[in-house]
Amino acid sequence: MSESSLFATFKSYIEQEQSVTLATVVRGPDGLLGAKALIPANGPLLGPLLDTPWRDKLIRDAQLLMREHSSATRRYEDDSIEVFFDVNRPPSRLIIVGAVHIADALIHFARPLGYKTYLVDPRTAFATPERFPHVDAMVHAWGDEALPQIGLNSETAVVVITHDPKLDDPALKVALPSPAFYVGALGSPKTHAQRVERLLGEGLAPEHLNRLHAPIGLDIGGRTPAEIALSIIAEIVAVHNDVQLGERLPVSG
């Protein structure tokens, strides 16, 4: 098997944590059984199924299923051919900036929901393996350095909870313009208003600030770190599932 085989390419997309769909004929004429097409979210299409008369429909179905995050079969040519679409998407990530109490509970909630968890804090006295034995990865760096290093894709949620503008702001300046599907920051409405003013003054675009979830989390009356973490993770799940959570007041530039 050469390194340029369809399987090798498929495998490299999965290893690089990129969305990719493998379409395979599972029902149909003998000559076509097992024939494939590789349809990545970003990258060139490959494989013999792209030479069929129904390629456009096949590609459209693959893209729809990737959006729904579901693997399924579809039929072509008067139902004489059945194709299985094996949809592979990267694991969701939760990046927490701030090794505070809320982070501990957030990691606990996020892992069974399928999130790979990252804890970012340059303060090595706070971010210790003893305090956070359950986190998948710990990064001792400032947010503006750590976030690009971890990588911000459309399956990434970023939660900024240090309560210290010195630590929060650099992370927000990187996270807000990125493809991350969720960016939230802890703080009262007053703290948030000051933050907005500060970040606008530093040149962050109003449309980027508008997508910041602040005050963070669903309003469930949370007071303890665990309750606040629950409200944050619930909001992340809702946003990931495309649930409308009510309008936020826009930020004017």
């Binding site: 003998d30 059984l33 097992g34 579901s70 299985f84 949809v87 592979n88």
Partner: protein, 104 residues
Amino acid sequence: MKDVLEHIENWQAEGRQIAVATVTQTWGSSPRGPGSKMVVNDKGEMFGSVSGGCVEGAVVQEALQVLSSGRPKLLHFGVADEMAWEVGLACGGTIEVFVERLDW
């Protein structure tokens, strides 16, 4: 796919022939959804799962045949006992599993 990649790599390094079995469709209750995979090598070793453990043995036998014939096959497993489904046993329901040689 990710869960079986490591086994595929190890077996490829050993020069083994490999079959991949993938759940393509399910009806009723089934513990493993579409896309679930198991891999089988030409020694009959297996990894992964396509059900709650009820059809894996049969899939290994079919996979060995597919390895020797080179022809992919779509397998259909249903419940023998309707009652099994009604009482919600993990192995109720019906699944289809596509088995192919990893030669692409």
